[in-house]
């Protein structure tokens, strides 16, 4: 399976990372080499093998629904790149300007 530059462009967009054509070219080569290496996994017979996403048994951890002290507004906002009152301010969200 050969990775194309157009696929890498789409992946960069999905990853929300801006890239120049030159960077896309380099990334296409590097990701292609890693994926070729990963093709080694095709040598294994995985028929009937269950996937493992976690090695320890995972279960929901429940607790009583009681109000506890939280960190507070000032601490929550102390690292905000752009603070507006008690809010994080961001550029406009609707009418997404840039396509891909």
């Amino acid at each position: 399976m050969k990775l194309t530059r157009e696929e890498v462009r789409e992946v960069a967009y999905l990853s929300r990372i801006e890239m120049t054509d030159e960077e896309l070219d380099r990334m296409t080569g590097q990701l292609g080499a890693i994926l070729d290496y990963a093709d080694m996994l095709n040598e294994l017979d995985l028929e009937g093998v269950e996937p493992t996403s976690h090695v320890i048994p995972m279960k929901n951890v429940m607790r009583e629904d009681v109000v506890k002290e939280s960190c507070g507004v000032e601490k929550a906002l102390m690292n905000a790149p752009d603070r507006f009152g008690d809010f994080f301010r961001v550029p406009k969200v609707i009418d997404e300007g840039e396509g891909h």
Partner: protein, 483 residues
């Protein structure tokens, strides 16, 4: 002998006897740091002021605290109030966490003095510390060489005696490989043995915090302080943690140590193979039985890891978007702001892994890559279970090579990934593993990797301590070469 070169257990003896005060150790430690840092560059932030204040406060505190007065360094991906946590990344410069990680809280409660935040590959992705956005760290054994990574700063700081012990994190070998390259002891505990609350996430099903120290006893002491269940980390194992120091001196007699033959082959330097093979003879001398084990599946661990870990990372690192913390690049609309911020904030290796992970999880490739890798992970878990049916612990080299030159592998991602070929299988199976020094090859340290069954830390430490006694290799120092 300067105080900074002593082990934590030696210092604790002196402190409890009232021979010295915490401030004496701090004086010696910062003299050392000022002396070595221009060359080694193990730290992103040196916290001299808060360390001195802490040492003064401790003077009249309870001297029986387990790490009373001990200088400890913390990898820069663990949150600590009052200091920056950058994760070696531009995107988290600046970021001041509003809370302490559980391990940091535990260090403080144990009486430790935190001396600084150590350098690392950006978001713990790398095997040389060269992917730090701040600066590379140099190996105290040879300043032209890399300390390994990603916890290279924590390993180098301990090797250079800039602190007695330190914390690192290990997702695919990031504690054990730098421990090996810097000639110190490093342990990745069982997945879930130590709380990850406040550890910046890389690959959540693999990440684990663990100790670095100059000998096995100190390693066990630090593990005792940090391990245990934490209600704030639902993946931390709920059980009464054992006393690891108490288990140390049981000896290796009667143990069966399995040599994983598949990790002694192609790609392993002859000098490394020789030293690690000689370690088997030490175990025999100490009364253990050596058994050769075949685990052909281990060669598939690296490709499986490079699908699973980037997939998890691509999801975990989605949070760096310039909204709530870290840096932001301005733009007119929000998607452009995300894309410009992430372009400017992430380094090359992090971008590569986010994109690899995004691809492996994307529609059409999920089954071919991600799901396949998870099935291979099952086979790896099963093969380790089989091995532990006949062995108490397993052994292999930690790293296929000794410390490599700076810039040697930076342009070849796959060559860099190969540095973790022996350590990655352990993370995929969630097992405890450690690296201990087992000698030198051409003047550079070689690491012996010991692997235990789930929650088998006591067996590991006991075998490691027996190896120190049997080999006489304990507390290796790069001193002569550096001074």
């Amino acid at each position: 002998m300067e105080l900074c070169t002593k082990t934590a257990s030696e210092l604790i003896g002196m402190l409890r006897a009232g021979e010295i005060d915490p401030i004496d150790i701090v004086d010696s430690t910062f003299k050392r740091i000022n002396d070595k840092e221009p060359d080694v560059k193990a730290f992103i932030a040196v916290l001299e002021e808060s360390a001195r204040k802490r040492a003064e406060e401790l003077k009249d505190a309870d001297r029986s605290l387990p790490l009373y007065g001990i200088p400890v360094a913390v990898k820069d991906n663990m949150c600590m109030e009052g200091a920056q946590t950058t994760c070696g990344s531009k995107i988290l410069t600046p970021f001041e966490p509003p809370y302490d990680a559980t391990v940091v809280e535990k260090l403080k409660a144990a009486g430790a003095v935190i001396v600084g935040k150590t350098n690392m590959d950006e978001f713990a992705m790398g095997s040389s510390c060269e992917w730090s956005a701040h600066h590379p760290t140099r190996n105290p054994w040879d300043l032209e060489r890399a300390p390994g990574g990603s916890s290279g700063g924590s390993a180098a700081a301990v090797a250079a005696c800039e602190c007695a012990m330190s914390l690192g994190s290990d997702t695919g070998g990031s504690i054990r490989q730098p421990a090996s390259l810097c000639g110190v002891v490093g342990m990745k505990p069982t997945y879930g043995a130590v709380s990850r609350y406040g550890l910046v996430a890389f690959a959540s099903s693999l990440d684990q915090i663990g100790p670095f120290a100059r000998d096995v006893r100190d390693c066990a002491m630090l593990l005792d302080v940090i391990c245990g269940h934490d209600p704030k980390d639902s993946t931390s194992i709920d059980r009464e943690p054992p006393d690891h120091v108490a288990a140390l001196d049981a000896g290796a007699a009667g143990m069966t140590v399995g040599m994983i033959k598949d990790l002694f082959g192609e790609g392993v330097e002859p000098g490394v193979r020789e030293r690690v093979s000689a370690a088997a003879e030490v175990f025999e001398k100490m009364g253990a039985k050596i058994k050769e084990i075949e685990m052909p599946i281990v060669k598939y661990a690296l490709p499986a890891y490079y699908l699973i870990a980037p997939a998890e990372a691509s999801s975990n690192l989605a949070r760096y978007d310039g909204v709530q913390y870290g840096m932001r690049e301005d733009a007119d609309d929000i998607v452009s702001m995300f894309r410009k911020t992430r372009r400017a904030g992430f380094g090359a290796e992090v971008k590569r892994r986010i994109m690899l992970g995004t691809y492996a999880l994307s529609a059409g490739y999920y089954d071919a890559y991600y799901l396949r890798a998870l099935k291979v992970r099952t086979l790896i878990v099963k093969e380790f279970e089989k091995a532990f049916a006949e062995c108490d612990i397993l052994m292999s080299p930690t790293s296929p090579s000794t410390a490599f030159k700076l810039n040697e592998k930076i342009d070849d991602p796959l060559a860099m990934y190969m540095m973790d070929i022996c350590t990655i299988p352990v993370n995929l199976a969630g097992l405890p593993g450690m690296s201990i020094p087992c000698g030198l090859s051409d003047g550079l340290p070689v690491g012996l990797q010991l692997i235990g069954p789930t929650l088998g830390e006591q067996a590991l430490l006991r075998a490691a301590r027996a190896f120190e006694i049997g080999s006489g290799i304990c507390g290796m120092m790069p001193g002569e070469k550096m001074d």
